[in-house]
């Protein structure tokens, strides 16, 4: 399953909090023209480096599919960062 929601929470040392909830699918749809260009660029780079573009795409897709469940949380004094992929 591809990631559905990426949550980013930042708490600065002055106590200010930022919370971002990023719905992945709508964002990917909005950015799809840019993504298409990036994929094309990646394929050309693969051909230059003698890497199978299909293999590379499969590898990247596998990484994306495996991302849900990832969580990174760090606190330093009053400052904190949380990135969670759901």
């Amino acid at each position: 399953m591809i990631p559905q929601l990426v949550t980013v929470r930042v708490r600065r040392s002055n106590g200010r909090r930022i919370r971002l909830y990023i719905p992945v699918v709508p964002v990917v749809l909005v950015l799809s023209p840019l993504l298409l260009l990036a994929v094309l660029g990646g394929c050309i780079a693969c051909l230059i480096l003698h890497i199978s573009p299909a293999g590379a795409l499969r590898g990247v897709a596998r990484v994306l599919w495996a991302l849900p469940g990832t969580r990174f949380e760090m606190e330093q004094g009053r400052a904190a960062v949380l990135v969670s992929v759901g």
């Binding site: 480096l49 293999g55 590379a56 590898g59 990484v63 599919w65 469940g69 990832t70 004094g77 009053r78």
Partner: protein, 143 residues
């Protein structure tokens, strides 16, 4: 089909055993087999899905307060990541090998097959690292 059953069938084909004997041998093999799978299935049932790294450190010299880190990585992501290494171009592998050699780590990355890395991740399940220090604590485990 497992190897032993194949051997019995080959013996039957070569005429070394009769059909009755082959049947009895296969039945005997089937009686032996159920002992292994339950252990394996209970192991797969409890198979961990995530690699967890937890670190707690008391206030250091910087005076920024205590630090805490909590990272959860799906093991599937590690597997997918190591499979990407198979895509490294030969030119890059040669360069990396040369740099590793220069740094005193004579490892040939070309010898590192994705299968080996997969096996490594498979056995991460049993890894528990627990470091205790007067001012900090770090744990690495699978859950």
């Amino acid at each position: 089909m497992n190897e032993q059953r194949r051997q019995v069938l080959e013996m039957l084909a070569e005429g070394k055993v009769t059909a009755d004997e082959a049947e009895r041998l296969i039945e005997a093999l089937q009686r032996q087999q159920p002992e292994a799978p339950p252990g394996r299935s209970s192991r797969t049932k409890a198979r961990p899905k995530y690699l967890r790294v937890v670190m707690d450190a008391a206030d250091g010299t910087g005076g920024d307060g205590a630090s805490r880190m909590n990272v959860r990585i799906p093991l599937q992501l590690l597997r997918a990541g190591v499979r990407l290494t198979a895509l490294l171009p030969p030119v890059a592998i040669t360069k990396v090998n040369a740099e590793l050699d220069k740094a005193g780590v004579p490892i040939d990355l070309a010898e590192l097959k994705p299968q080996h890395l997969d096996d490594l991740i498979e056995h991460l399940d049993d890894v528990i690292i627990d470091l205790d220090d007067p001012g900090s604590r770090m744990q690495v485990y699978c859950e």
